[in-house]
Assembly symmetry: C2
Homo-oligomer: 506 residues x 2
């Protein structure tokens, strides 16, 4: 208003433009002047609790604190190799990585590297050249071929390197696809509740609407196509245009695994409603009971259905990553997505968009190669690789079972014993007193619980409100990655009992 | 229309929602159904020419071709370590990287690694833990401290690790900042013409407007604050709200270097117009004549001006990268940006947004550490580091001079001899006949020239139209990274003379 009246007075005609003064009165980089949509982004996995955990870690490091714990355990994030968890990296992966970093090592340190590692590094180097060079924007063609062969072996259906895009972890690919799919603020994407908050965060970033559908905790966090139909009906009634269906399988935070018949129904649902299927399959190798609960990819289901006569070509984007599984190489930032039933024109657009970011990190790309082409029986590196990966699978499975049992034995806690992924998502009953205390603190009740847990134990988890949950229900997500599981579970138990003593259990 | 009339007829009441049918009639993943804004993205550096160059490379590899060249030289992109250019990586950088990949090597290969490399890798490992773990989203705090000390030594002004964000190359940071700054489709960002197309591509992606200002070729591609004022006036008249000023220094594609007095004027201009200054300084260590043409950072200029009494706190974001300089480690994807005069609230928003992507690649972060903390005089690795980096600087400088001289000697070609960066941006006179031929082929005239060059020589450059240029002028950008410069320039000369013979020079 002030500017407008000044402008009318004509008192600063020598300014190149009157608008420049109106701009000058506001600071150019305040929250007000920035993209408001981005300010709605929430990402609880690295939110308030994780930041507080960092300050505790700093206090422990600098000494002179009076914290009631001597270490912080970051159970808020599936980060197997972090300090304190220390899941060892796969030796084969790191040997290949070290040799591609400094190829001269093969000769400078004779006998140190197994022959298959030397051969692998040499093969990669011949294809790639220096790993300090940009690769093809879509990823090194040779590594994409390896990925295609891995997919073919898994699914018994053809896969083409042209349809594979290597990425800096799965997140980068998800963000790109959602950015492409959202054409208007009324466009939406179906996401499970609870969900990994990457999806809501990315939708907020790209001005899209989440269309939540509930998973069923009473049947082991199963996915019910009926609840997706209901969510679609509601969304359309609200003026939302559904563009895609996100399925996380194995589930995050739930750890649930889909069976083939549900998957078939979901593919048919996508066909019926013309939805793109976004299949987040980054935990496909984290199976605690693979015999009874195997993993089936959506690629396989889509192709099987087509073989069986399904006319619709359901577009599918499947995401995988080196951050999870037995690899656990989060820091390398490696992963890929595969396009199925996607036209060459759309693929060319994807290529153009990824090319603006030049290429995924080469260290991550080489990590993908190691993941999809591990040592084979008979290779010099096989026995060590086998014992390392067996140990990781076994530790994760036994910890998950033990933790779920012990959590289920606590008053007011119930926990689905998940057959996959890295997490448990226990439900906690919070009393009216606890809810009132949370309200007074201006926090979600489960956030208050999680903060109290962090303060008391040094264990950092993520409140269920960060993933979404039914009204009036409370959960938290914790990883099953702790090394000393007895000590860890003991801390959780003592904290919970103290909480119940303070606030009651109903 | 068909759907609308069907809906009115009420003929499919049993559908759960009439909208589902309207969606069903369109394929869910066609170009039409995707974000239209993204389809306007142009990124010539990896566009038509680069894709054609790849197909030639494949043909050469598979044999049985009749191409008039035996190798493809990708001069379209500043990628020093790519096959065929083969700028060697800095040994120190790769030794540190190899040891952090597989720390056991220090003991398994005694005597192979210099003592300072072993100490550095150990220090990094103690701070980071495994490089297979996610780091702090903003980057490893210890490495950010190293970056802050590097900036302080360069500028003689304080720098804080809290203001530094490690990134996957500079591009990731630029994209984030532009996403934050654009709040409405009428917002714009001032970009130089010619510019590195990352800026127009990122603006297109985030629905913002480029506000072009011309660099002056006749005075060595200098930046004239008057021309920026003119661009601002024009933009405002057109209803565009200017949010930020992009300066690329040393220039890309121009190689020009700003002097301090121009930089001061530009900072004052940002203060006057309340603009955020985005300083792309990724070529700060690519100086061909550092004595006469030194680099000064915008951080230094901003702080110097404040010390001298400037009241306005101009917000500045400065970008740097390990992809260029003598490091040339493009494939690692490492870099950083520093925030200056940015509030803690805005910094917290930046943190939240980068945390959704989890963390920058650890290999890139460690590359940043090696770049900002190279071996010092007296360290065991210093002599080799010194000779390697001296050789890279010297080769780049001599090639740039020689190439500019030889290009300037060609009929219809004039080329500013750039004092910095990795490129030359020669201007080419194209005859009316050539322009007519281009029009017939549906191409920009300089794109036709560049395609003809690729077909004849295997040298891939980027047409000036990909960077922006004045109406009726034509250029191309080529890197000065070729190893056999005589052979390379010879090919360029022969091609150009052949072109002139075919199309004439006027």
């Amino acid at each position: 208003m002030l500017v407008a009246s000044l402008r009318r007075s004509g008192s600063f005609l020598r300014q190149p433009s009157s608008l420049s003064l109106s701009l000058k009165t506001m600071r150019p980089l305040t929250l007000d002047s920035l993209n408001q949509q981005l300010q709605t982004v929430q990402y609880a996995v690295r939110g308030e609790l994780a930041i507080k955990a960092e300050t505790y870690r700093d206090q422990l490091k600098s000494g002179g604190h009076n914290l009631p714990f001597d270490k912080v355990i970051s159970s808020n994030i599936g980060n197997p190799q972090q300090k304190g968890l220390d899941q060892p990296p796969i030796t084969f992966t790191r040997q290949v990585a070290a040799l591609t970093e400094w190829p001269a090592l093969a000769e400078l340190a004779p006998g140190v590297f197994p022959a298959d590692v030397i051969a692998r590094a040499k093969e990669l180097q011949e294809e790639i050249g220096s790993i300090g060079a940009y690769s093809h924007s879509q990823g090194v063609p040779f590594i994409r071929k390896s990925v295609a062969r891995f997919i073919e072996a898994r699914d018994a259906h053809p896969a083409s390197p042209d349809d594979i895009f290597l990425t800096a972890g799965a997140s980068a690919g998800v963000s790109l696809l959602i950015n492409m799919l959202i054409t208007a603020p009324t466009d939406g994407v179906l996401i499970p509740i609870p969900q990994y908050p990457l999806y809501t965060a990315t939708l907020a970033q790209h001005h899209g609407r989440p269309i939540p559908y509930n998973l069923d905790e009473t049947s082991g966090w199963s996915t019910d196509p009926e609840s997706i139909e209901a969510a679609l009906t509601k969304a359309k009634a609200e003026g939302t245009t559904p563009k895609a269906l996100v399925i996380i399988n194995p589930g995050n935070p739930t750890g649930a695994l889909l069976n083939s018949s549900t998957m078939e129904e979901l593919v048919r649902l996508c066909a019926r409603h013309s939805l793109v299927l976004l299949a987040d399959e980054v935990y496909q190798n984290n199976l605690h009971d693979a015999k009874n609960h195997p993993f089936t990819s959506f690629k396989k289901v889509v192709r099987d259905l087509e073989k069986a006569g399904l006319q619709d070509k359901v577009p599918l984007v499947s995401f995988h990553s080196i951050s999870k599984g037995v690899s656990g190489e989060c820091g390398r930032r490696g992963g890929y997505f595969e396009l199925t039933n996607v036209s060459t024109e759309v693929r060319a657009l994807v290529y153009k968009l990824v090319s603006v970011g030049l290429c995924p990190p080469l260290g991550g790309q080489i990590g993908v190669d190691s993941m999809v082409r591990p040592p084979k029986e008979g290779d010099p590196s096989y026995p060590l690789w086998k014992s390392e990966t067996d140990a990781i699978h076994a530790a994760l499975a036994s910890r998950t079972i033990l933790m779920a049992q012990r959590l289920n034995a606590l008053p007011g806690v119930s926990c689905v014993q998940s057959p996959g992924a890295l997490y448990l998502f226990p439900r906690i009953a919070l009393s009216a007193r606890a809810i009132a205390a949370a309200k007074e603190a201006g926090k979600e009740p489960d956030a208050l619980y999680a903060l109290a847990m962090l303060d008391a134990t040094g264990i950092c988890v993520v409140p269920g409100s960060g993933f979404g949950q039914k009204e009036g229900e409370w959960h938290y997500r914790l990883t099953c990655l702790c090394p000393g599981v007895e000590e860890y579970v003991g801390k959780l138990e003592r904290f919970h009992l103290g909480w119940v003593e303070k606030y009651g259990s109903e």
